[in-house]
Symmetry: C2
Subunit: 433 residues, 2 copies
């Protein structure tokens, strides 16, 4: 009985587990520090109040409940001993025969971690609800005051980073201001909000072709988004961002400018790239450790390619499945194969009914690209229940411009709080910290 | 133009606002410290992972968007000056001609506010998601360890308070253990969980007739819930509860044992009862201040009754509408009327397909009571969108025992955190605090 440990319940880990599920002579333990698989490509829709967290997140153990040879543990892996073949988590230690590392990336602030407080990134449900809280709260704050200058300061949104996430966030905020909120306020006109998308490089969407990126920039402008390229951010504080000598005041700053890999690769002393991703062999194993694999965003796979494979869901999904099949081949006494990526292209949405899609030389944009985007995303949503509700929710929202999850949920749940002196104090659990 | 200020966007405030909406010579400002109206009767379903927060909460300003004479402000009221007729909130001060206070109750710990940390109550979305996090997390913790004795300690749930909320929480936990989670774990059997409902008085559901309460206790037992009456809790800490000399170890303690009114009544120096509720006149106004009203859970209305009206949604709803109509009568030069409550009865669910209903001498229980409960609750859910999705979600859950919102969402969204010394530290934003 071979014990396969999978670290991470994202696209790579979950799809590997499914291939190994109910196979004889294989026992699987999947470790994740969250209890849910998160459908990352739709996370920005939670941050933008269009979907509820539960619509894009499913308990990992529910997805895998039918596979009796798989144990799911919610725990955080803190170390791997390649020689002893053990994984150490906060609450347990386990021995493996095969190990699949697929614990992904987090956003990175290029050494300025103190910026996170002022400019949250978007990788987890917690971050998405925090961004939703901030975005919705500034409209509430602006409605409370009557001074127009101050209102505008409240209604300035800066998004740092012009990749797909930054574009999707900026487009969604533009749409919220133009359509969703227009009738809901008395003292402000949400259409007057300033939305600024800042990109350090010469153009947005650098992974797309220049003409599609141009069109996207044009469509963003139509939603009221001001795109600023070649503008590296040099500082961020609670009141705005600094771009070299220029100061931009903003009440809401969102970070979509960069990621780095989970620190696990560096901690193991194996070959990693500049982002901390594990450099893998042609079969996705780690050099000199054929029993250890890395997949998804955590892996740097460059074989036969000019640049490493990008951090996209199809890459992770294919790699997870591929590794599981190689393990099955090997335990059946067959030879391993090398990984080949079947390119599924890339896409990004701009607002409610517009998207860009690029697959090799095939490029298209507009409503049909958006329809394709919707169909593909629903298809890949892992659990049937979620597909069903997300579809309904989208159809509903499409026709009435509503956003069904416009909740400001605070971080503090307590009503009675201890103050610094240790005395009890009534809190009013709705106050924003 | 008369200015009506409504404090609180619950059943009373919202229904008053709707009556006053688009009426000539009336201007309304509704203040609430949350941005959403919360459908309180279903809040335990969020805590029990059956519904998502957005399915029972709707932005107040969206509900009232069509009434151009109503301004909604998210702000917390901290004082009322009855003589000057002004309301002071954290961010603004306003003058009123009529004032409706409807800011409800919070749970109370009988002077032991330090218990809240260990035994959260259920009044807000934040508290519901906190309870959900705690309940789901102990199953995860139990799955991680292999020692059976420790597993059972993790899987002991204590609910303090045998009113409808306590009964609904205990029944739902019983059902989760018996049906929802059975296939999802490998190291534990969720059916072995201990669920203990503790009531200080001689029986549970004291507001219901004794025979219905008996039947409810019997049905709870069938779901694995141990009911302990005449057991006043004397202490609560992180590891369990104390009932006089007896100690009950428990990983999860939930508080459903008592409420007290918003402190606003006491701060105004008007007549209040022992729970801080404002004692109101027959027309729901405050003595000597006919321009100020209280409604819903915040009001103590005892005219022609042996006991004050209970804290139920129909009471709040009828009172809110009644006050608004009296204001309209008065501004039209007509005389006020006195409030009469049209009794809508009371109900409580026990698990998935069982409920008790009592309306005067009419009493029934079982599946048809539960069906009635479902129909009535969907009917009253304020926004159409929510009714629609909640209905679907319920139909879906009923047939497959699923709970669609089984998410453990943490309190901390940051990845990089400052430690006490002020240095940056990598956090792992999934760690439970």
């Amino acid at each position: 009985m071979k014990h396969v440990i999978i670290v991470g319940g994202g696209f790579a880990g979950l799809n590997a587990a499914k291939i190994l599920g109910n196979k004889t002579d294989i026992r699987v333990t999947l470790l994740d520090n969250h209890n849910h698989h998160l459908f990352q490509p739709l996370l920005y829709q939670v941050a933008m109040a269009a979907l509820s967290p539960a619509e894009i997140a499913v308990p990992i153990r529910r997805i895998l409940a039918g596979y009796r040879n798989i144990t799911v543990l919610q725990d955080e892996v803190i170390g791997v001993d390649l020689r002893q073949r053990t994984v150490t988590a906060r609450e347990c230690g386990l021995h493996y025969d095969y190990l699949l590392l697929a614990c992904g990336v987090k956003h990175a602030y290029f050494g300025h971690e103190e910026w996170e407080e002022h400019a949250p990134g978007l990788k987890t449900i917690e971050q998405a609800t925090e961004i939703r809280r901030r975005v919705l709260s500034v409209f509430e704050a602006a409605e409370r005051i009557s001074d127009c200058g101050n209102q505008l300061k409240h209604l300035t949104f800066v998004i740092v980073g012009g990749g797909p996430t930054g574009v999707e966030l900026a487009g969604a905020i533009g749409e919220i201001c133009r359509y969703t909120l227009t009738k809901d306020f008395r003292n402000i006109n949400p259409r007057q909000a300033r939305i600024i998308l800042i990109e350090a490089g010469p153009r947005i969407l650098p992974s797309f072709s220049a003409d599609l990126a141009d069109k996207a920039a044009h469509d963003l402008a139509a939603l009221g988004v001001q795109v600023r390229t070649s503008s590296p951010v040099t500082d961020i504080d609670s009141k705005g961002v600094q771009i070299g000598g220029e100061r931009l005041e903003a009440s809401t700053i969102l970070w979509a400018a960069g990621v780095e890999a989970s620190p696990i690769g560096r901690s193991m002393g194996v070959a990693t790239d500049r982002l901390g991703r594990i450099v893998v062999e042609a079969d996705l194993s780690i050099k000199n450790h054929p029993e250890v694999f890395a997949a998804g965003d955590l892996a740097n796979f460059s074989h036969g390619r000019a640049t490493p494979l990008p951090g996209l869901a199809p890459v992770a999904l294919q790699q997870g499945r591929f590794i599981a099949r190689n393990i099955l081949r090997e335990t059946a006494g067959k030879a391993r194969r090398d990984f080949r990526y079947l390119d599924k292209g890339q896409m990004a949405t701009i607002g409610r009914s517009n998207a860009i899609i690029e697959l090799g030389s095939l490029r298209f944009k507009g409503f049909f690209a958006w329809l394709a985007w919707v169909v593909i995303h629903i298809y890949y949503l892992i659990s049937f229940e979620n597909k069903f509700f997300v579809t309904l929710h989208w159809v509903w929202s499409f026709f009435n411009f509503r956003r069904g999850a416009r909740l400001i949920i605070n971080k503090e749940w307590r009503f009675y709080r201890k103050n610094a002196a240790g005395e009890n104090q009534e809190g009013g659990n709705s106050k924003q910290a």
